[in-house]
Symmetry: C3
Subunit: 354 residues, 3 copies
Amino acid sequence: MVFDGRSLLPDLDPKRITIATYCSHTSLQIFHGARKEGFRTLGICVGEPPRYFEGFPLGRPDEFLVLKDHADLFNHVEELRRRNVVLVPHGSFVEYLGANRFLDLPLVTFGNRNVLPWESDRGRSKQWLDKAGLQLPRHITDPRDIIEPVIVKYHGAKGGRGFFIARNYHEFKSRIDETKPYTIQEFVLGTRYYLHYFYSPLRGDAYRLSKGSLQFLGVDRRDETNIDEANRLGSIAELEAIGIKPTFVVSGNFPMVIRESLLPKVFRMGEGVVETSMPLFGGMIGPFCLETVVTDQLEFKVFEISARIVAGTNPYVGGSPYTEMIEPGLSTGRRIAQEIRLAAETGRLAEITS
Amino acid sequence: MVFDGRSLLPDLDPKRITIATYCSHTSLQIFHGARKEGFRTLGICVGEPPRYFEGFPLGRPDEFLVLKDHADLFNHVEELRRRNVVLVPHGSFVEYLGANRFLDLPLVTFGNRNVLPWESDRGRSKQWLDKAGLQLPRHITDPRDIIEPVIVKYHGAKGGRGFFIARNYHEFKSRIDETKPYTIQEFVLGTRYYLHYFYSPLRGDAYRLSKGSLQFLGVDRRDETNIDEANRLGSIAELEAIGIKPTFVVSGNFPMVIRESLLPKVFRMGEGVVETSMPLFGGMIGPFCLETVVTDQLEFKVFEISARIVAGTNPYVGGSPYTEMIEPGLSTGRRIAQEIRLAAETGRLAEITS
Amino acid sequence: MVFDGRSLLPDLDPKRITIATYCSHTSLQIFHGARKEGFRTLGICVGEPPRYFEGFPLGRPDEFLVLKDHADLFNHVEELRRRNVVLVPHGSFVEYLGANRFLDLPLVTFGNRNVLPWESDRGRSKQWLDKAGLQLPRHITDPRDIIEPVIVKYHGAKGGRGFFIARNYHEFKSRIDETKPYTIQEFVLGTRYYLHYFYSPLRGDAYRLSKGSLQFLGVDRRDETNIDEANRLGSIAELEAIGIKPTFVVSGNFPMVIRESLLPKVFRMGEGVVETSMPLFGGMIGPFCLETVVTDQLEFKVFEISARIVAGTNPYVGGSPYTEMIEPGLSTGRRIAQEIRLAAETGRLAEITS
């Protein structure tokens, strides 16, 4: 059973909300944005408060909750409720706590936690994105059908390791460890764009959907070690010949913009994802990211969706070229805080929490 | 005959100018800048108003003119004149309308439309840039003279397709389709810098030229699909071996800065281009872009000039590191609006329109 | 004997300081920052004042000192003292003047010039960085021990030339010019991050050290010609096969952010470098840069340290995503000016000059 944080709303004082998250990932941005909107902030951490916050007076939380380990969060639920906490989950939040624990967490949480099973299960996420009208990379079930480049992912591969690219069946055979389960996906050649959206069920002043409205807050390119600088040494094939395997571990992010003529598609994709999410699981809320490749036919292939704030928004703590045209200086972290503030002021917290 | 929009100036009310452009390319930036300078804005579009503007309240035009097709613009000329429109052309504007129609357009247009024949014809653009003292990639007339890498472009190749790179005569022979006309150009190895300038015939408060002055507003790197991420799969030669051709279709842009010690050359190149443009065709006006490669001898090779606002300025809707030292928050779109405003206020519109 | 600029402080009027540097490298940023903090500025140049400053009214110095050649600076020492100059050295400053002349320069200089011998000598810099707890690329003394990719640097190689990469002993042998002295270093495969710090001995309001405190102002990626776009033509091995050698000449810089979970390490590395610098040579002061590679194990390898402002801070003339959380709009150039102002106002110039 998924806990429903809205059951706790009667005891939450909407005038004294503290915004809390785990200290990592996008927490500087979340705290920075929350401060700008006038919230108190709380950093949850394990062991001891990370010292790097000392370096960022406008990004550090007002106070810390120090845990023994991530699961220890459950022992502090009463305290966090007393502090009027609204939790803002980020990518690492769910990863640290574990999906099941996150779903069970008896705290008011920003966003709809019911998105998690749809996002993390490849089958369901495919079903969702297909329904939304997005183009996904093809799946190949029989390796002998590999006639074009593919990316092979071992099940449970994490953090950019446990992937490999094969350009044909021969390469596949020479690289595969058949003892481990895997999936084979079309490798889509093109340029990668990580599209950052914000869906508000409360506001109707942006790109209007059947309920609420959609914003596009920016786009970045992930920087992945070692694949993104491997070319300084040799081609992937040349490196593999000397025993070096490419890896796809995210180490940073570059700001960028996308061709304006692609924006109609960008919005239609976001629209499809939000509209279909409503009947499927009650609807996504807040920030989400579509991880895409743009082919030379200027078509988007979507290889993943993240249904919360992602690290690719970190280049835009001070605003992006796109938020400049919405509200100068607006970050995704700040946009989250604005949504919580609006909901708190208008008695609509039940529409943006779970 | 090229239409001269200045003949319409007597009927234009300089206090009630509306800035108009086609909805695409850099239109968000143009409208955003025009709003900041207090102009009314008009978005020209085909079919129906693009909905993505809903997402950008500070970038959307005040109103739309909906056409049946691009050429339908000619049927709305009277209406646009009544609305006191000054058209701001961007790269796609000319492409959508067609060069000849653009030259004939009986509307007041920002910039000198007589630049178009000099910019779009390879022979004349070479003549212009040579005169300006710029270094261009060599042209090779006989394929048997290919002893270094070359880029081969089929005539009329558009949008980043119809190019190929050959490292020697053998590669050229194996790739060329001799039935189509083509040109062969030296492939310049180095890093690409797209330099964004603004030339004002009205203001003398920047880098001074014989008349008016020059600004450098920023630099970007184009992101081209699929060439710019092809290395994730293999080298170009490895990809071609499995039937994948590199393409050079622009899908986005990265912000960047150039080494300060190159700025003297950056300004001298811009200066040369503007000064020589005056006797050739009456002078360029407003924004232009030099598309360059910087070799490891820190020399610029210029492979193209664009004589209007280009999409590479879109990372800088909120300002660039360079405009920070001119006027914080200044974009190219806003700079255009400032020039129109200054001309309107001082009765000098004839100097910046055509 | 290293000149000690502090001996000149009794004659310096702390209320009328002029900030001066050579016109190049990061001088626009330094002047821009100094102006924002209310200082007069002086640009030192050879031959004639560079005209590119005309293009940047907020980045140009108030006046110029024109030299016959760089060493001519010594003939203007009296004049500069009369003008109450504090010199801000940047990377090219030291290169232009020569290390020995820089050490001898009888002027008040921002930062501790005693860092220079520790930074420029590979042996001493290794000793320093080892002590600081940083991981450096391994050195290989016997070429026959090359079993993994290495980078080979000829002594005195400058500006990104005179390096080569070899993936094995065979490649080493085919490329090496044995008549020139060289060093062999492990080639670390990963993604490059240039980390920009500022150490203040005066302020205790950031990441606290035993004395003073540390800030992290941003991170960039250098763009090097021709290596960083060579992949458009072929792999390094393919290019070498046709006689094209990769070069590593810096031509520009890209803004970026680093994964938040790496920030604890980022600060610990900076802390180690500053703390160990105190007993070694009296301590670094002001901006410094660690040039790192992040491996797919998310470990930093540090291949160089620069103990003054580097060109990688130029994308951030208007602030970085990190300084947004310190003080919006803060650049490294401005941070230097703030430190000088604080020292001047509190009578502590001796703690930040040499």
